[in-house]
Symmetry: C2
Subunit: 194 residues, 2 copies
């Protein structure tokens, strides 16, 4: 896997506040994400591929978290989570986390990830991820029907570099598409549609 | 834009039936899609970035279609649509369709796209797209609350080649990420998690 300079050398730019209304920039392209949670004194992480941006302001994101996941009850109970954006350097962790259960192991410890204190929620940020979106449960009405949690992103952090992180996009069957070339076609858009 | 051989030469493999339970293969990586509809004798197309796989069997997909879109009422009225998967060769059409309204123009005609008869729904397939997912409205309960349509994919068609089509993933502000390298990590998965 080719990696960006920062990943190869281990250098990473410090995270900065990221505008809540621009969360689509990271989530709309459809990356696999890591969802961290904290409930009753314990933390957990799950790998999640089924999510959808729903609104800019408030910044809403729908996430399907099956009741079969240990995280389901933790997030429902606490009403909070953090959506963390991993890149290719975390591929093995993404897979390992998705293939194990927080009912059996401490995933931060097992996968060598660093829990950092969030600003607005009790759930921890994953330091090694490119961006972190602190979420509060906005609407629980769709949970019992579809396991769909509607979250409001209440605080966002992102590294300013690289501008286009090498995110992972899951296709099923153990196969991922890695984020490729970026093309700017803004000149073809009506101003009101940007 | 580098293009795959098929796109460069204009040759395209014929579409085949695609298993409904594997629709995630195309949609979970988060591509921008074109949604075609037919209602009261007229067709339309919209560009859509906000969608989420919800289940394998039945094959359910949630789509956020704002009531500001001409397609909203057409799809709500007919209870059907087709989700079509464009690739980079259709970048200009994707943008043009997203920047115009079906209340003013015939989008198939305006953007030089071919409407093909679908098998299970009245809405047309877009021939030039890599894959087409015929959808019936499965649950309209979330439309009034969130403009979210839950569709069941009832028939799927896809070209067998290229295996990994060059899909477009929207980041906002007129910028797209193009599907990149594909990596197979199935050997790291527990069999039950594939």
């Amino acid at each position: 896997m080719p990696a960006k300079a920062g990943a190869r050398t281990g250098r990473r730019s410090a995270k900065r506040d990221f505008p809540l209304s621009r969360v689509r920039y990271f989530l709309e392209p459809g990356p696999i994400v890591l969802v961290s949670s904290k409930w009753q004194g314990r933390t957990n992480i799950m790998t999640m591929g089924w999510h959808m941006v729903m609104a800019f302001s408030p910044s809403l994101v729908a996430c399907l978290i099956s009741s079969g996941n240990h995280s389901h009850d933790m997030i429902r109970g606490s009403g909070e989570c953090v959506i963390n954006l991993p890149t290719t350097e975390l591929t093995e962790q993404v897979i390992g986390i998705g293939n194990s259960s927080g009912s059996e192991i401490d995933k931060f410890k097992e996968f060598g990830l660093t829990a950092e204190k969030a600003s607005e929620v009790a759930a921890p940020l994953i330091r090694e991820c490119h961006a972190n979106f602190e979420c509060r449960l906005h609407d629980e009405a769709l949970i019992s029907r579809y396991d769909v949690f509607v979250f409001e992103v209440v605080k966002a952090h992102a590294r300013p570099e690289p501008k286009h992180p090498e995110t992972l996009h899951y296709k099923g069957d153990g196969v991922f598409m890695v984020a490729g070339t970026v093309i700017d076609r803004s000149s073809l858009f009506r101003a009101s549609m940007l």
